[in-house]
Symmetry: C2
Subunit: 423 residues, 2 copies
């Protein structure tokens, strides 16, 4: 399906007015950035870049869409839309990288007409995916190497769920419950059974036997439908001491995990893992660090950005061609909403140990000594050239996290982990 | 596109194990309800029902999806999925109605196999749409008759944006910026120009002239790109005193609206309306009640549920057929997650003035005297019979709000506006 109508009405009225005034074909530069990192976070995570590139390729106004728009815009505008193909350039931070206030994470160059049309789509994708990845990254840190399954599909819009699974995987989650995320993006899936499966059968034992019969002893049995201790006993009786895992989904998880570990060990099920779920967020995960837990399932908190469901990214015109053909910086002067005019370049400066020290944003065109360039070309003359496998973004995120200053990984509220400098 | 893969992996592993054990074909009843109203809200708003019915009709496993699933499930399960058509019954609260803790807003009856597969899709749709509508309804109340444009598409996932526009419209918003919401659901759209349009032109005057030339003097001019007072002067010079509206998007909106109103009046533009936008939520809207504002634009806060981005609805097995063919109530006993077994009926009891007094939920099958039945059949033997126009849901919501106890409309935190009684 075309993504072209996933767009605010005013992009089309601006287009119509600019076509009429003649300004529509002026060259323009739009930049995506966040004025601040919401929620007292220390860093943001770039995610959604790959989805923007996919959406760009299906951003076409087809005959039935043009017919729908015929009452909203004039004939000249419809004609422009019928032929619309983005023919400009897009540059962006690499997916999985981190960002800070004012980092120009995406730059769109084209005519005003072709670039303004992309505003809503680009912001929808990046605001959602960056918010999820930024929350997920903190959870990955809190889990300290234990795997996390993303299982929040039911707590967010059905398609947002797919993008959330993708973003969480970039940020270090090990798998997702969402089948479409596997189909579209190759994210590994996981999942065995809910309480309904136990309740369906005439006894917990019958349910466990049915599950083990088809999924094998390496499966995960859910043990808190009735009585946890009784369920663990039944689980090991049914599956044997090679039972893969048990899942606990209620109660005081630290206490329950300790009790279940002792019980499993006493039954000889030393290799049986303990998975915990139930309203976990990064703080709850951190609080379970000392508990004998082998993996986490996280739902609501990750798909809703753990209190920050949107990333506060904006898409601003920073330069445009004048009547005389020159590209000039522009910026609005609205109260309390700072904007800096001019096409930016961004570099990351490193300290002697190779860790991130400063985010350097400049309109000068001159690269700072030793600065690592952060903007890479993603689209050239309308053609996508920056697509990459999801695993590349996931690996990049792991590397970026390793290079952040240590204090960036604290869960408490604070300021951006490194300062943004302008030149 | 099929909605069938917008599903958690474990629905399929449960299906496989139940097909193997033979329990898959037992009759089952699942209910959707919320254990509590999040965020100290006084009521929830049912939204998404129509989208669930649409998704149900496209919930099919097609050949390429079956091929994708071939490594995840066994041959018997694939065979079941290939023929999958929901053939049971669905009952639900009417879209636009209000709900309270434990209200069974949707009831799904079928075999376990066919009903369990729908869990993720139903919860994704209802948890998202109910959260948005519940927030939007409070904003509509705070606006006290002034129209609100929903304009948050850029702050949420691109498809969540479409559903959010639909849910906000049910809850009383007047229009949306989102073109796809108009295309798919007929929600009226609105929008004229962003700051980029002014910045594109060589002067604010040139931008206003371009906009008025094509959209007419009844358009809305954005007046805070540079200096508001200067912009208002220019706007009236360009469009005349019949200018439709001005929009203010920054600063202290109450002060700015007062100043702009005085300026417009002094210029003879008495009928020019003032629209305000800029991070508004229900509290900010309420705080502008005394300001000379004619309409609001709301973005981030409505599409993120104003602090409550998901509705906490769950989908629980409450009854299933036993080995002897009898339908029996079931409920898990997990700590801190109360569930009540048995197929429910729900009625609303009214006081002498006809206002809502009690939410009455019963497993007895006996209707209380004068109780208004809340569950209506939406699907019969797999066939959707409960679809209705969006305007019906919008009208119903308006009626429901009028019948809530007065204190239900307070914005502060509190308890559910009416108690839920069980029999």
């Amino acid at each position: 399906m075309s993504t072209a109508l996933l767009t605010d009405h005013y992009e089309l009225t601006m287009l119509q007015a600019a076509l009429r005034s003649g300004a529509a074909h002026r060259r323009a530069v739009f930049e995506v950035f966040a004025r601040h990192l919401p929620g007292g976070r220390r860093y943001g995570v770039v995610a959604g870049t790959g989805r923007v590139l996919d959406s760009l390729e299906s951003f076409r106004f087809r005959p039935d869409e043009l017919e729908f728009l015929a009452t909203a815009v004039d004939a000249q505008t419809l004609e422009f839309l019928a032929d619309y193909r983005f023919s400009g350039h897009v540059y962006g931070y690499r997916e999985g990288d981190v960002y800070f206030p004012a980092s120009p994470i995406m730059v769109v160059e084209g005519t005003f007409a072709e670039a303004v049309l992309l505003e809503t789509m680009i912001l929808s994708v990046l605001n959602h995916d960056c918010a999820i990845a930024s929350a997920a990254s903190r959870m990955t840190t809190a889990a300290a190497g234990r795997p996390i399954i993303e299982m929040g599909s039911r707590r967010t819009h059905e398609w947002a769920a797919v993008a959330a699974a993708r973003a969480a995987y970039i940020a270090g989650f090990s798998s997702t419950s969402n089948l479409m995320a596997s189909r579209l993006y190759g994210v590994p899936t996981a999942g065995t059974a809910a309480h309904a499966f136990t309740l369906l059968h005439d006894s917990e034992q019958a349910a466990f036997e049915a599950q083990v019969a088809t999924l094998g002893a390496s499966t995960t049995l859910l043990v808190d439908t009735y009585d946890v201790a009784q369920a663990v006993r039944t689980a090991v009786e049914v599956a044997g001491s090679k039972l893969g895992a048990v899942r606990i989904d209620s109660g005081d998880l630290a206490v329950a995990a300790q009790e279940v570990r002792e019980q499993l060990d006493s039954l000889g099920a030393f290799s049986t893992r303990i998975l915990v779920t139930s309203d976990l967020d990064e703080y709850a995960i951190a609080a379970l660090a000392a508990a004998p837990v082998d993996g986490y399932g996280v739902g609501t908190s990750v798909v809703t950005g753990s209190g920050v469901p949107t990333a506060a990214l904006v898409y601003k015109l920073v330069a445009r061609e004048t009547a005389t053909g020159k590209l000039e910086p522009v910026a609005k002067r609205s109260v309390g909403k700072p904007s800096r005019g001019g096409r930016k370049q961004a570099y990351r400066l490193l300290d002697d140990a190779g860790r991130y020290e400063t985010e350097f944003v400049t309109t000068s065109g001159t690269a700072p000594d030793g600065g690592v360039p952060l903007l890479h070309q993603l689209v050239r003359d309308g053609e996508v050239i920056g697509a990459e496998p999801l695993e590349a973004a996931r690996a990049r995120h792991r590397e970026a996290i390793a290079l952040l200053p240590q204090e960036a990984l604290h869960l408490g509220r604070g300021y951006a982990a490194i300062p943004t400098e302008f030149a």
